[in-house]
């Protein structure tokens, strides 16, 4: 591991353990944005760790951002750090010379920009939109891709929440955009956004999976039944060993993303597929081992498992990415399958 990465992890974890307690996560579900957590991470240059300095970033690599996002997910941080990364990376992709500060999110939906720069369209599941200052919106203008930036206050917003209790709002837009807030983009903008999104969800799931395993292993060591800790029962050990295998594979799959300089489609597909398919079985083991207390809002295991159930669906679930990989491999053909795998 690079020394810089180690330092980023240490700093991020320190801030998160202070400011992202289970109480803070719960408070978000009651409608309070974790302002202090957001500001502290921002002041430490962690929100945009992997973005260039002219976009307000810390000048690191893309992997640095993913490292911070993964740490945040280990603590179930209820802030749009992934969305800000996606938005800033899109700004970077289109060659923007600046990036709006503050809390930012990204809206993926059907958006059309007319000739006179009127943006119309709608998006569901816009993460944390209600708390954002600005929203980045990939759109089409006469078949070409454009990236638009709008003020949160200028859109019509319907509050919705995810299965994890996090804001996933619906926004509707019908307004004229200032030319300065429109960026001409390569035609693959929407696809690029989807890959960035799937990257973030993959590393987030790997973090939440690891943290869920830690919680449930700790629990099994302390919980006493039949006169001994339940960790001593082979039935429990084998369930947790199975979960550990899935978690280890997920960590390795997500770590591959942190090595990339760009969201390479096939790499993103491998990670979202592998990590996504681990969520269901791991959540099942975690809840089975933890018993009824894990099935409450009083215990914070739910902060992890509910997010896993949410994130595995976002930016394409494992099945969708598996289809993409499969079609690609079939184009590669039987005789070139192994050379392809060995080159990865």
């Amino acid at each position: 591991m690079r020394e810089e990465t180690r330092l980023i992890i240490e700093t991020t974890n320190r801030i998160l353990s202070d400011l992202c307690t289970p109480g803070v996560v719960d408070a978000t579900e009651s409608g309070q944005f974790a302002t202090q957590l957001w500001q502290t991470l921002n002041e430490n240059g962690l929100i945009l760790a992997g973005l260039p300095e002219h976009l307000g970033g810390a000048g690191g690599e893309m992997g640095d951002s993913l490292t911070v996002i993964r740490c945040a997910a280990r603590f179930a941080a209820p802030i749009p750090i992934a969305e800000t990364f996606i938005a800033a990376s899109l700004a970077n992709f289109v060659g923007a010379t600046s990036f709006s500060g503050g809390v930012v999110t990204v809206a993926n939906g059907e958006f059309e920009l007319s000739e006179n720069n009127t943006l119309t369209g709608k998006a569901n599941n816009v993460a944390f939109a209600r708390w954002a200052d600005r929203i980045y919106i990939p759109a089409k203008q006469q078949g070409a891709s454009v990236l638009c930036v709008v003020d949160r206050d200028a859109v019509e917003l319907t509050e919705q929440v995810s299965i994890a209790g996090e804001p996933r709002d619906t926004i509707e837009v019908n307004l004229v955009i200032d030319a300065a807030d429109i960026y001409q983009a390569p035609s693959e903008l929407q696809d690029y956004a989807r890959r960035l999104g799937a990257m973030t969800r993959s590393v987030m799931m790997s973090g939440a999976l690891e943290s869920a395993l830690e919680l449930v292993v700790d629990y099994s060591l302390t919980r006493q039944q039949f006169g001994r800790s339940i960790s001593k029962f082979q039935a429990i050990q084998h369930q947790l060993a199975t979960m550990a295998g899935e978690v280890a594979a997920s960590i390795r799959a997500a770590d591959s993303l942190a090595q990339l300089q760009q969201p390479v489609e096939l790499e993103v597909a491998f990670a979202k597929s592998r990590v996504g398919q681990a969520c269901g079985p791991c959540a099942e083991v975690a809840h089975q081992v933890m018993g009824a207390i894990g099935y409450t809002l009083e215990h914070h295991l739910n902060h992890r498992t509910r997010r896993l159930w949410c994130w595995r669906e976002e930016y394409g679930n494992e099945r969708q990415w598996q289809e993409l990989i499969g079609h690609e491999m079939c184009r590669t053909g039987a005789d070139e399958l192994w050379p392809r795998v060995a080159s990865l």
Binding site: V217, G245, V247, A248, S273, G333, W338
Partner: protein, 376 residues
């Protein structure tokens, strides 16, 4: 963060590409065997000798013992290419993977000079002697005994499930050199026993695929000279444990059914249904991840580490993968699947039960992983 759960990404050395090309060119010239990606299926002394001529048996070992002083990562490249091609690697596999490294670590200088060069020439093949008729997963319960006599050890007892005993030259046998005591792991030793000894009897056992691969081996007053004890008498358990990183982490733990995936691609062609594509995608994503985890461990072995929990994780995940492949491809097969494909599939189905048994059962591996998690 748990120990043993993090597989630090490792990049293959620059030499890997050229080496890979050499191996593929070598395999292109090879004929005369039916491909099977299960490492334990297909033993050919001639093939192993041709491979050895290229310097690819014992390739990480010192040159003075006939090795090529290549890295573990380079060895990784060679082994995965051989398996993916379905080459008949069983003859030299154990000596190359396990017995040689064991001798390098615990053997005497005399033993290394005597046993290693013939292995690197593809002339000397080894078997593992651990299981016994009454000893499977509970390895410490072995009863095959070796009693000290003048000039050596007198061995009596029996080993079972010994792959290749009818073809190979030596067994590295784990035996009791002291009666079982309160410390179950004490009093065991590893001996090199020649299959050519007249007091060693090998009885073949057919596996359910109908192949004569494994055996029961009987020892009836077999005199093993002192210079064929590996390491310290009584240190057998520690030595056996030290082999596990090599034994459990390699590509043979997840590639056994690889040819089923490859041939499935041939069956469905370039225009698969979405369901077929999704299944192929799932399998390839798992394969790529397993391979990267396995390369991470090869990197740890190169650094001299003993990644036993990591190796157990790879074997558990990898065996589950290679075992499930023939099962889950069945529902998506085209109606008119070819006879060639069905032969490949049936071969995998018949061998699959062994994947989660050999080299440590699934149950034992889960116990090792649980220990790594601090549960026991």
């Amino acid at each position: 963060m748990f120990q043993g759960l993090n597989f630090e990404p490792v990049v293959l050395p620059e030499t890997a590409d050229a080496l890979r090309k050499e191996v593929r060119a070598f395999l292109d010239e090879e004929t005369g065997w039916f491909p099977n990606s299960d490492f334990n299926t297909g033993a050919s002394a001639e093939f192993s000798q041709r491979l050895a001529k290229r310097g690819w048996v014992g390739m990480t070992w010192p040159k003075k013992y006939g090795g090529s002083e290549r890295s573990f990562l380079e060895r990784y490249v060679v082994t995965e290419e051989l398996l993916a091609a379905g080459a008949p690697v069983a003859a030299h596999w154990i000596a190359d993977r396990q017995s040689g490294p064991l001798l390098l670590k615990f053997g005497t200088e005399e033993q290394r000079q005597r046993f290693l060069p013939p292995i690197t020439r593809g002339e000397s093949f080894f078997s593992i002697g651990m299981s016994e008729p009454d000893t499977g997963s509970d390895l410490a319960s072995i009863r095959t005994s070796a009693v000290k006599v003048d000039g050596g050890w007198l061995v009596n007892g029996s080993k079972i499930w010994t792959s290749g005993a009818h073809l190979n030259h030596y067994m590295v046998a784990l035996v009791r050199t002291e009666p079982a005591s309160e410390n179950r792991h004490a009093g065991m030793s590893q001996l090199l026993i020649g299959f050519d000894d007249p007091n060693v009897t090998v009885r073949g056992i057919k596996n359910l695929a109908g192949e004569s691969d494994f055996n029961q081996v009987f020892f009836d007053d077999v005199l093993v000279p002192d210079d064929q004890v590996i390491g310290e008498p009584g240190n057998g358990w520690v030595q056996v444990i030290s082999e596990l990183g090599y034994e459990r982490s390699g590509p043979e733990r997840f590639l056994s059914s690889f040819l089923v995936i490859q041939e499935l691609l041939r069956e469905v062609g370039s225009n698969p249904t979405d369901e077929q594509a999704a299944l192929i995608g799932k399998l390839v994503a798992e394969l790529v991840t397993l391979r990267r985890m396995s390369i991470s461990v090869a990197g740890m072995l190169e650094e001299g580490k003993a990644p036993n929990t990591e190796a157990a994780l790879i074997k558990e995940l990898g065996n589950t993968f290679e075992r499930i492949v023939p099962e889950i491809v069945r529902p998506v097969l085209p109606q008119d699947a070819s006879a060639h494909f069905l032969a490949t599939l049936n071969d995998a189905i018949l061998h699959a039960p062994s994947f989660t048994l050999r080299g440590g059962t699934r149950e034992i591996l889960r116990g090792v992983i649980a220990r790594g998690l601090g549960l026991r």
